[in-house]
């Protein structure tokens, strides 16, 4: 039983990270109807920036904040420079652009930092908190950080004029433009926020999976599964989906299919959800008029 509780709790910890990344995917999906295949690599690249800052002697939390700001800027720049010109292009063209971003960020990181695996510090103490035996402090801390990020995003979208403007753009870009909202900049800001949330996820997962340019491949897959499970256009759903996928992955990996097939859980979930319930559990069902 103890082992089971341990599996569930550490599943919740990684689940929180999947939830953050899934949330980043959903934020971009909501404003552009696109799934950003480069989300994981953007997070990975930001995490490397954090590593550089910390290695240069900066404290963890200042480096954390600076990295989040950097990711925000990175997201905005990528949207303005790379995505904007293909806004109305075919799905294939856009997917190709995302893949291009993925491989460029991946290889740029490999080029700058080399492909050797690096350790990434955790800001939380080594000993488990409160003397418990189920969950390490980093895992507990990661869940905490995820919840703080979610709360901040909720407050931002719910209570600030800028958040309201962004929600308006996601709902109806034409009308938003008519009432004077800068739709283009809102899209860019949406990308920036998504990149920032992704960067937090990257910095939280890096102490667990270690820092390496390919670290996000599998995690992105779980985030896809989480976003689809919760409904790709539902932020709340993505968060619940993230935690669910984290627990499911850990428990299935430990007791049913073995650790060497964990990624197939994501594959099965993605295909299963798309087939049985494409709108996920909390998403809107889309009806297309012929």
């Amino acid at each position: 039983m103890d082992a089971f509780i341990h599996q569930v709790l550490s599943g919740l910890a990684t689940g929180g990270i999947y939830a953050s990344l899934a949330l980043a995917l959903v934020m971009i999906y909501q404003v552009t109807r696109l799934v950003n295949f480069a989300q994981g690599e953007m997070a990975m690249f930001s995490t490397y920036i954090a590593w550089s800052l910390i290695n240069a002697g900066m404290g963890y939390w200042p480096a954390f904040l600076l990295t989040v700001l950097f990711a925000l800027a990175l997201g905005v720049v990528i949207e303005r420079v790379v995505i904007r010109p293909v806004e109305n292009a075919s799905v294939l063209a856009i997917v190709v652009i995302f893949i291009a971003l993925l491989v460029i960020l991946n290889s740029a990181t490999g080029w700058i930092y080399s492909y050797t695996i690096k350790t990434f510090p955790s800001p939380f103490p080594k000993e488990p908190l409160f003397g418990n035996t189920y969950i390490s402090s980093h895992e507990l801390g990661a869940i905490g950080v995820t919840l703080v990020v979610l709360a901040l995003l909720y407050v931002f979208f719910r209570f600030t004029p800028l958040g309201l403007a962004m929600r308006a753009v996601a709902q109806n870009p034409e009308s938003s433009r008519l009432v004077g909202i800068r739709v283009g900049w809102m899209l860019a800001l949406g990308w920036g926020l998504a990149a920032a949330v992704g960067a937090v996820a990257g910095m939280m997962i890096a102490p667990i999976v270690y820092l390496d340019p390919n670290m996000m491949g599998g995690i992105l897959l779980y985030a896809f599964a989480a976003a689809l499970l919760g409904g790709i256009d539902s932020p709340g759903g993505a968060v619940i989906g993230g935690f669910a996928v984290g627990v499911l992955e850990n428990v299935l990996g430990a007791y049913v299919i073995g650790n060497d097939l964990k990624l197939s859980v994501a594959l099965g979930l993605i295909i299963g959800v798309l087939l049985v319930r494409p709108s996920g559990f909390f998403g809107k069902v889309h009806v297309t008029r012929v």
Binding site: F37, A93, V103, I104, S107, G110, A266, I270, L274
Partner: protein
Amino acid sequence: MTRRASIAVAVLVAIACVLPFVVSNYRTFQLTLVLVYAIALLGLNILTGYNGQISLGHGAFYAIGAYTAAVLMDRLGAPYWATIPAAGAVCLVAGFLFGLPALRLEGLYLALATFALGVSMPQLLKYHHLEKWTGGVQGIVIAKPEPPAFLREAGLQMNSDQWLYFFALAVAAIMFVLGWNLLRGRVGRALIAIRDQHIAAEAMGINNALYKSLAFGVSAMYTGIAGALGAIAVQYVAPDSFTIFLSLVFLVGIVVGGLASISGALYGALFIQFVPNVADEISKAAPWAIFGLFLIGFVYLMPAGVAGAVRTLLVRFTRKGAK
């Protein structure tokens, strides 16, 4: 085919037959891989270029083909040439089966599902219950095929690299003729109609579901055959040679070569074989940086790829000549 096109193909075949006798063994080996990639790219192009179904996971079918060939040769002692049709058949079925659920997925979602397939393929290949067949992480080493005895009796001296090249050339030629026949007629038009206007295509009496899943099957078959040939050429299969980046290489190939174009498969194959070779000298990361930049560059500036550019140039050139 127009007369000019026939002459071009004849010249190309003649050059392809002479090349291995002029260049080094290593270059011959690289050219064999070009042929292998060309078959795989033609397969992906049938699906993504002609039929508009985005696949980011074709490396998985390449892997299945390669493993089929390796397992048949290493564990069951099958002759290398017999593994090609076997790999094709296995992948046809695998592709068709994956294509059935894929029918319900459009555009982005299909890209997602195939991406997931591509990412999880190495792990599936490492699965410990299959280790008896697949060799687990170690993979399988296979023997290099020797040129057949009748060639030596006929007085033709050929080393195994050259023989393998001609074997690949023959397979590629068959696959390209088949592909050309498939795409120029009724089936090709149906595939394109589904890509451009699937509702109108349905109204015209095209069975969308059948054609789409068939396109998936045939596409996987091409890629699987390429995989089997590739495995024989490099004499080695291992799970980590079939990561998601292999699938992405194929995507680079069809985008650079030209979507929905048969000759594009050849340009794309030359690109993905030789550009990394040159770029590798700069840095280990350079090939992918260059691939990425080319992807963006081609989508922005040359969406029809090299094949499209060649076509435009030819039209301009001949118009000038006519005046």
